[in-house]
């Protein structure tokens, strides 16, 4: 058995998942810091929630409501 290949795979997995988590952890920290700085120094009264997704949720909600009313 060529242990080199399999060991290489294991090491790549460890380093890979490690890098992914390390990077995204940093990104979480940096994003939170950025959001806090923005909230303090660049307040934005006209901010909105994510538009299209919000509309989609509203549409689904409306459809569900209609569906229930029809069943009554």
């Amino acid at each position: 058995m060529d242990n080199g290949l399999f060991l290489g795979g294991i090491r790549l997995m460890l380093v890979g998942m490690g890098t992914v988590f390390f990077f995204l952890t940093l990104l979480v920290i940096a994003t939170n810091a950025m959001s806090r700085l923005v909230a303090r120094y660049l307040p934005d009264p006209g901010a909105t929630v994510a538009g299209p997704a919000a509309e989609e949720v509203a549409a689904i909600a409306a459809a569900v409501t209609r569906y229930r009313q029809e069943r009554r």
């Binding site: 790549l12 992914v20 988590f21 995204l24 952890t25 990104l27 950025m34 923005v38 909105t48 538009g51």
Partner: protein, 377 residues
């Protein structure tokens, strides 16, 4: 008479091999999936058609200086097409839900375990002598689990161009199968109570945050993992054009005319790699199997991470949104929403799932960077 004979000899009927006939059948199957089943039609239709054109003997379009080969060299070998598509995807992506709840990035991280587990599976099969994948090939195959077409094509073009056709077909097919593959795994790993968890409404996100986030992402990736910077750089660039509000005409070009034109040629060029000689080999079967495993493991990891985070979080987290961490935007979010509503009809998870969903795009691009750096070096 001689001329008629020459005509016959020149015809595709006379020259066609069994392999080519089978490939044309497979490509017609891809067209069927695209048109009738509506499976990722933008890519499966173009790939399928390109595949037919490239398997007809005597048609000089996928070889030499034919149009499809030209598109392959200019757009895939150079990595230009996947990068341009990533820019367009960036110009379409709304990071709002992610910014409202950055912790969901962890879900996008966990779901990438599918990539590396598949890599391990590929080298394992090679160790056992069943397949014969090198570490580069295994890495390219693993990326299928990232559930992100352009990323898979970009990595395969760099690490294993001879597997590009099979990898692209597997990636887009499984992305289309997300609504079939994911729900059973999600139900298996969660209780009805967990699936019924309602999440608190997302906070509003300011314009400044939206503008600064792509820059933050670019700088972080550039400084930590330069090999992922082309992909995430173009993604950030597209998103910055979208959010900054001063170059709307460029953002519009990136997410409409440009991405559509590039998609046509990307699909045809990928299809030109579906030649019988490269596709009808045992390794394709291995790739398709491993790709399926990658999706399943990625989904499971995301859900399990969601359970873990729910346990340690003050705010409730529905573990179903972890499954959206595999990418496959926005299909995976819709699946999480649908499975959640089965358990609790008031449970609108769609927006909450969009956070891990776009985090999955970032996560798999980071994983791609690691692969290119270590396996490609």
């Amino acid at each position: 008479m001689e001329l008629l004979l020459e005509l016959w000899r020149g015809s595709g009927f006379a020259q066609m091999s069994w392999g080519q006939a089978v490939m044309i059948g497979i490509c017609l199957g891809l067209l069927y999936l695209a048109v009738v089943r509506k499976f990722e039609p933008l890519l499966l239709l173009t790939i399928g058609f390109g595949g037919i054109l490239s398997n007809i003997p005597g048609v000089e379009i996928a070889t030499g200086d034919g149009l499809l080969h030209l598109a392959y060299v200019v757009g895939i070998e150079s990595g230009a097409f996947p990068l341009i598509i990533f820019m367009g995807v960036g110009a379409m992506t709304d990071f709002g839900p992610l910014l409202a709840n950055p912790r969901t990035l962890f879900l996008g991280a966990a779901a990438q375990f599918g990539i590396f587990a598949t890599l391990l599976g590929a080298v394992g099969l090679s160790e056992l002598g069943i397949m014969d994948f090198s570490i580069r090939e295994a890495a390219a195959i693993g990326i299928i689990g990232g559930a992100d077409g352009p990323t898979a094509i970009y990595v395969a073009g760099k690490l294993a161009p001879h597997l590009l056709g099979a990898i692209a077909v597997a990636a887009y097919s499984y992305m289309a199968l997300v609504p079939l593959i994911q729900p059973p795994i999600m139900r298996l790993l969660t209780t009805r109570e967990e699936r019924a968890i309602e999440m608190t409404q997302l906070r509003v996100v300011s314009r400044a945050e939206r503008i600064l986030f792509p820059l933050l992402l670019l700088l972080l990736v550039a400084l930590l993992l330069p090999s992922a910077a082309p992909l995430l750089g173009m993604f950030s660039f597209g998103n910055l054009m979208r959010e900054c509000g001063v170059v709307d005409r460029l953002a519009d070009a990136a997410r409409n005319a440009l991405i559509n034109i590039v998609t046509i040629f990307l699909g045809l060029a990928v299809g030109s790699k579906l030649s019988a000689g490269q596709f009808l080999v045992p390794s394709t079967l291995g790739i398709l199997l491993l790709g399926m495993v990658a999706f399943a493991i990625g989904t499971a990891s995301g859900v399990l991470m969601g359970k873990l985070m729910n346990r340690f979080s003050t705010q409730p987290i529905n573990p179903l949104i972890g499954a959206a961490g595999v990418s496959a935007v926005p299909m995976a979010s819709r699946v999480a929403n649908k499975v959640g509503m089965e358990a609790n009809p008031h449970n609108y998870l769609l927006m909450h799932a969009m956070g891990p969903n776009v985090a999955g795009v970032i996560g798999s691009a980071v994983a791609a960077g690691v692969m290119i750096m270590f396996a490609g070096g």
